[in-house]
Symmetry: C2
Subunit: 357 residues, 2 copies
DNA sequence: TTTTATATCGTGCACGTGCACGATATAAAA
DNA sequence: TTTTATATCGTGCACGTGCACGATATAAAA
């Protein structure tokens, strides 16, 4: 107990197998040039004494160097995709210790040509691995096929293309998050009518997250036979006068609506309207704890925020690729779903996306 | 970009400062025997070229070995403290790579003499660092003073003794979690009466967590001037006939109670009663996603579970101590509060306490 | 038999650091 | 002046691994 058992080294294996450490090394790395007899003896010894190579000594000696490229949507400060970027940076810090560098290539999430250009650039960089947010499914499918042909491993975050040979996926259960949002809203002071505000999308981006969430929402309504009506209307993705007019008209038409849901990260736009019109009695549910959403929640204009831990998704995605090279391990799960956290004014202060030591 | 800048080594520093690597090493580790002139030159160079020692090469060379002892309550399989134990094990796995071993000493959380004995045993082991769940505040205070006198760093998890020189604390905001529980229950279909079931505690354990949560609960009631009554009764900490009788009497006396809160991890006891009596229409809120609680939630007898991420607390506690030795860093925050996750039947399947890659 | 090709293996250096040990210069004591 | 003590410093080995290179044994070809 006091003096814990010494670590077994490659030298111990060599001695017990009656060969040199060079031969053991050849066995470990499948480098060939080993007789069947030696091979068996070495493998037996490794198995028997449970030899595990010292990763850090290995790292020191090998001088190998890997490069990961991350393909994510561009963003302004405070917007959703900044969160993923932060997770990438944190992972990068840790990767540096392992001779792994991380580069980020950004694309305009509203323009498919921008995405395609980013893909071409990435291929040209000849990376050792790729992390990708596959916003445009057709182009992304083509891109990951190209990667696969070049034997470049890749992981998805946020959404995935199921029929591709991805190493891992880190995301949230989208349908279920919509389902959950219905549950939270409807049981909150017994909702009878719910407004749902969606957003016009310029460009032909995939991003059907909001649509799938709405499916989850209506699925809950159907399954629980609630006598609850759902009114859907469309806004523009920024705080602007058009939105004010749209919302004015909406609430004129539906004066009894007390509950509102927004299926993306821009619920602050509706919250801002509620504040302006003194409609603080409405119950608003949104997604993603952006600073503006959290501020609106603290001010009392958003009741629930569902958080999806995007920073953790990105962090774990990069780390999975790093571990793949350094430790030769694949993630234990191919599909990894983050928890859906329910935030209210009472616990939002303690919310942390990525907490590592 | 392609060939990233080479890492600067101690040899580079030595060359630029016009000394040998031995002298640089003496400067880095404050080992003395360096002239004022050399000291300044070396420090200047380190600062200028931003030299950072290679932790893994250092680890390989130094052969230093540290031992962490964790002092936690004993548990049966499936009980609350098993979660902390799991977190310790996961951290241990990672620590092994750094020549850090972790031992666990358990005590009976209901007996102060057991705790004191565990403290004595720990001191005798002469550990390099200690992680502790300070269930009995007086004895724990004495113990950590002893540790401090011996210059042994220590961290708290779960609860803390504020006026002691702890390295870090990882826990949940207890009062706020009670506050949150009131918010969730009262806004759920407009609660009017709430039952609160506490537990008899044999022994004189500290563990005032439940009491503090109740304070948070009533604070919410007061601040929001709800016309809501709170009835408190006491149970025994296991599924047994006495509890059935107590609960029968309670609900006979309070037939209109539809909402129930339990401030510790044993809400499954009440859920079991509800199932037995066919009282599935009651709305029960409990703490900690033990297997039995989660099962009761999925069966429809628990509406909300507040999770406190105990596994993460323990994991981060151990890692903080490990990093303290290996990287010579203290945690950036002394007090670290975990998020309070709100679990319902709709998101409990995706709950993960500790998710690392 | 001698030469050549091939399969198999061991040796030794390098990675960046920690540290023991001995070397050197200088000052103080004899 | 010679001896001794002290302050300061450099050298070289070790940690465990990866890998290039050369060494050896054996079989095939000449």
């Amino acid at each position: 107990m006091k003096n814990s058992e010494k670590k077994v080294t490659i030298k111990d294996v060599a001695q017990l197998a009656g060969v040199s450490k060079g031969t053991v090394d050849r066995v470990i790395h499948n480098r060939g040039e080993v007789s069947a007899e030696s091979l068996k003896r070495v493998l037996d010894v490794i198995d028997r004494i449970g030899y595990k190579p010292n990763v850090y000594a290995s790292l020191l000696a090998s001088r190998k160097h890997y490069r990961i490229v991350c393909l994510i949507p561009d963003f302004e400060s405070g917007e959703f995709w900044e969160i993923a970027y932060k997770g990438i940076l944190k992972a990068y810090e840790e990767c540096q210790d392992f001779n792994v560098t991380v580069d980020v290539v950004r694309y305009d999430q509203f323009r498919v040509d921008s995405f395609q250009q980013a893909c071409r650039n990435t291929i040209q960089e000849a990376p050792d691995a790729v992390l990708i947010v596959p916003m445009f499914s057709d182009s992304a499918a083509q891109f990951v096929n190209e990667l696969h042909a070049r034997q470049i491993p890749f992981v998805f975050i946020e959404s995935k293309l199921p029929d591709t040979p991805y190493l891992a996926y880190f995301g949230m259960p989208v349908f279920e998050s919509g389902y959950l949002s219905a549950r939270l809203l409807l049981k909150h002071q017994c909702a009878k009518e719910v407004a749902c505000f969606r957003f016009h999308r310029s460009g032909d981006a995939l991003s059907n997250t909001a649509s799938i969430r709405q499916q989850g929402f209506t699925a809950y309504l159907e399954q629980h036979g609630e006598a609850c009506k759902l009114w859907v209307d469309y806004l523009y993705p920024s705080v602007c006068d058009e939105n004010t007019k749209i919302l004015d008209r909406f609430f004129e038409k539906h004066p009894d609506v007390r509950h509102i849901v927004v299926f993306n990260s821009r619920s602050y736009i509706v919250a801002e309207y509620l504040r302006m019109r003194g409609m603080g009695d409405r119950v608003l549910l949104g997604f993603d704890p952006l600073e503006r959403n959290v501020a609106a929640m603290k001010a009392g204009y958003i009741e629930y925020i569902i958080a999806q831990k995007c920073e953790t998704q990105a962090y774990r995605g990069v780390k999975a690729l790093c571990n793949y090279f350094v430790f030769k391990t694949s993630p234990s799960l191919k599909d990894n779903y983050m928890s859906m956290e329910v935030l209210t004014a009472e616990n939002v202060n303690y919310y942390t996306d990525l907490a590592i030591e």
